[in-house]
Chain length 328, copies 2
Amino acid sequence: MGEFDLIERYFKRPAKRALLGIGDDCALLQPPDGTHMAISSDMLVEGRHFFANVDPRTLGHKALAVNLSDLAACGAEPLAFTLALALPQIDEAWLAGFSQGLFALADQHGCELIGGDTTLGPLNICITVFGSVPAPAGKSQALLRSGAQAGDDIYVSGHLGDARLALEALRGKFDLPPALLLTTRQRLEEPSPRIALGMALRGLASAAMDLSDGLVGDLQHLLKASKVGATLYTAAALDRLAARTHVDWANAGISDDAALTCVLSGGDDYELLFTAPPSAAAALQAAVLQSASPIHCIGRINAGPGLLLHDKNGRELPTHFTSFDHFS
Amino acid sequence: MGEFDLIERYFKRPAKRALLGIGDDCALLQPPDGTHMAISSDMLVEGRHFFANVDPRTLGHKALAVNLSDLAACGAEPLAFTLALALPQIDEAWLAGFSQGLFALADQHGCELIGGDTTLGPLNICITVFGSVPAPAGKSQALLRSGAQAGDDIYVSGHLGDARLALEALRGKFDLPPALLLTTRQRLEEPSPRIALGMALRGLASAAMDLSDGLVGDLQHLLKASKVGATLYTAAALDRLAARTHVDWANAGISDDAALTCVLSGGDDYELLFTAPPSAAAALQAAVLQSASPIHCIGRINAGPGLLLHDKNGRELPTHFTSFDHFS
C-alpha cells in the first residue's frame, strides 16, 4: 500500500469545518470572525514518549490529547489539526487502531484532521493543533503563563501522579494490584484534555498552563513567565490531588515519599495549572461546575521569587523535592 | 544543555507578526482580515529525505523550503511556521548551522517561527507552515489542484531534473564534472520555493501544485483531482526544462534516456506545475516578468482521461516513462 492509499483508507474524511481538507498542497481554514488562532505542536517518539508495544488505539488518542491539552491551557476551542507520521513499515492493523483512537478523541472535541504527511522512518508522530480564542475588539481572551500576580491562589484540576505511578509500574519499579494498575495506566495512556475547563477559565484565571513535565517543574515555568514566586501546600497536593487513589496507593505499599514524588514531579498529568485572585473564588466554583472538572487550591503566588514547599504542618520541605525528577 | 536552553539559544526570537510567539502553551496568530489561512505540514527523516552527513545549514533551508513550496502552490503569502525537531543528541555546531539556514530562508519570506517542540529521538524535522490567501467577499483565491479544464495549457516553472541528477551522482550512479555537481547539488539541497510566482498566478492559473515527487507522478494527481487527462510534450520537457544544464548533461555523458527520466520522474524539483486557458497566455507572461520566474508550456489538458507522452516528432513515448521511478 502506497502513501496515498494509506491516507485515503485511514485518514481522509470529508471536510466539515475547514474550507479545504486533505488532498491538495495546503488545507484552507477560516477562523471564526473576531477570534485569534491558537496553535501548538507536539512530537511523540517511540521509546521516549511511549513504549514500542503500546496499544495503537491509545497512542492515537494520546498523540492528539497532549496537543488538545495545550489548547485547553490557553482557553482555546479546538478547530482542526494536522498529522505528520513516520512509520517503520505499513502495518494495517496498527493504522486501523491508531486512526480509531485519534478520530474518537477528535470527534469528541469537534477537531478536524485537515492535512499532514506520511513517510517511512522510525516511528514518530507530530501533530499541530489549531483552536480559536475570542478576541472582542481585538483583545485576546487567551490564558497565558505570564499573568500571575502576588496574592493569587494556585489551582490544579483533577488529581496528579497517576500517570507516573503507572509508568514506574510498567518499568517494573512498583508491583501494583491489577485494579490500581488499570486505572493509573488509563490515565497515562488516555489522558483527557481539560478543554471545557480551559474555556470556562477565560476571564477568571490570571495565568494558566497544562501539566506535562510535572507540577513543580511546570509551575516554575509559570512563575518565571509571571516574574513571581510561590508557596505550594504539599499536604494539599498529596492528600487532595491523589485523593481518589491515595488510599489504594498506601494499600499497594507506595510510600508517602514516592507518592509525593509522583504528585510533585510525575509528568504526563495533562491537568491544568492556573492562578486566580481570591476574589474570583466564587466565580471559579461556578465555572468548575459548568465544566465538570474538579479543581483544588494548592498554593499561593508570592511577590518574591522562588518556590517554597510546605508540608502538612506548615514546615518547609527539603529542597530535593523542587528538582524535576527522582526516579531517573 | 536542556530543551529550554536549546530553544532559547537557537530558536527563540521576538514575535513580530504573531500576537504571541515561542514560550507559552500555544502561539497566537491573527490572519489578515479578509483572508483564509493556508496550512501545510511536511516531515523530513534522515536517510529518506536527506543524507546523514548533509550540511545542517542546507538542511535547515530545505526543511522550510519544501513547506513554503506548498504555500506557493496555493498562491499563499507566508506568515509563520512551527518546528518540531527530534535530535539524536544535542550538537551545538549542528544546531547553529541548522537554525542559520532555517532563519535565512524564513527572513527572506517574512515567515516567522512561532512555536514547536524538541525531543531526543532519531533525527526528524517536522514543519507546519501558515500562509494567507485573499478571500474577497469570502471567496478564496487559493490555487487548487482541481480546476484544470480541457484545452488548458500545462506549464512548469524553472527547469526540472537537476535535483535527481545530483542525488544519483551522490549515490554513485553518475560521475559528474565538479561544476555540474555543484549546480545540481545546490538545486537538490537548497531549492527556492516559488512564492512570488504562486502569488502572481492567483486569478490566472486554473489549477496548480508543486513538484516534489516528479513531474509525471505529480501531474497525474492534478489530472485526477481535475477529472481530466493530458498530453505532455516531452520534447519541450527535455529540451527546454533542462535547458540551462542540458548541454552540460550531454557533455557529462548522461544519456537522453537518463536525462528524460530525471526530468519526468526526478522528484525534489520544488517548481510549480500549473494550468491556464490559452486566453490567459499574455497575462501569464506579465505575471512571470513580475515574479522573475521563467515558465514553459509543456503540454495540454484533454477532456478524456489518461496521460500521453509525445516525443519531439509527435510520436507517443513508451509507457514506461509514465511510471514513477526508473532508478530504484
